[in-house]
């Protein structure tokens, strides 16, 4: 079965530290999306990665895509409390372009 897998599922960080969230997928898609979700809220689009080698940065977050390895990373630099949220990666699966999500990474940034 085609899947999108994230790790870690839970991440507790100290402010100021760096860390990386990994997203592996099993399709041949050249596109990948990252979303952020705050508790009780909907999904907010963070990054749209459209090709192999794509790199996008927004503030302390940087996302990259390696389609040959079927891997995307979300790197957090010098974490701050406001980044605490759940982060999802998503990928298109199948001929009907079913947008399939990973299980999410719950990020908690502690002072």
């Amino acid at each position: 079965e085609l899947k999108v897998e994230q790790n870690p599922l839970f991440l507790s960080m100290q402010e100021g530290k760096n860390y990386t969230i990994y997203c592996n997928y099993s399709t041949t898609s050249d596109r990948l999306y990252w979303y952020r979700q705050d508790p009780g809220k909907s999904l907010e689009s963070l990054f749209v990665l459209l090709s192999n080698g794509a790199v996008k940065q927004e503030g302390r977050l940087m996302a990259s895509l390696d389609t040959k390895a079927r891997l995307s990373t979300l790197h957090i630099t010098a974490a701050v409390h406001d980044l605490s949220a759940t982060y999802f990666c998503a990928n298109w699966v199948g001929s009907n372009y079913k947008l399939t999500f990973g299980k999410g990474t719950l990020l908690t940034v502690n002072p």
Binding site: K41, G94, N96, Y97, F101
Partner: protein, 113 residues
């Protein structure tokens, strides 16, 4: 800024009752998705429309759930009868076409008691 509109935002219903959710996608978006998200899990696709046609409903529990998009614009998701396990966030999303960026509405939080 264009948004996906959903209503209601919150719904509490008793077990065995019927419940319906409404979604109005961004204007011009041909593809519409309904997702269910159980607390602590990732969104799971229930049904995907391309215009007024269903292109994927493989995860929709068809004995109790139904979805329609009659004119290829807004959509309704219905549950009848509701069960306790249906308590979740129901998210609607739309995209210009298949394989393009999907934008999500605010969701409907359903609690079945």
């Amino acid at each position: 800024e264009a948004e996906v509109a959903q209503s209601p935002r919150y719904k509490i219903t008793e077990k065995s009752q019927a419940v319906a959710f409404w979604c109005d996608p961004i204007s011009g978006h041909a593809t519409l998705y309904w997702y269910r998200q159980i607390l602590g899990q990732g969104p799971e696709l229930l049904v995907q429309f391309q215009d007024e046609s269903v292109v994927d409903d493989s995860q929709l529990p068809k004995d109790r759930f139904s979805a329609e998009r009659l004119k290829g614009v807004d959509s309704t998701l219905k549950i009848q009868p509701a069960e306790l396990g249906d308590s979740a966030m129901y998210l609607c999303a739309s995209s210009f076409g298949r394989g393009t960026e999907a934008f999500f509405g605010q969701g409907t939080r359903l609690t079945v008691v």
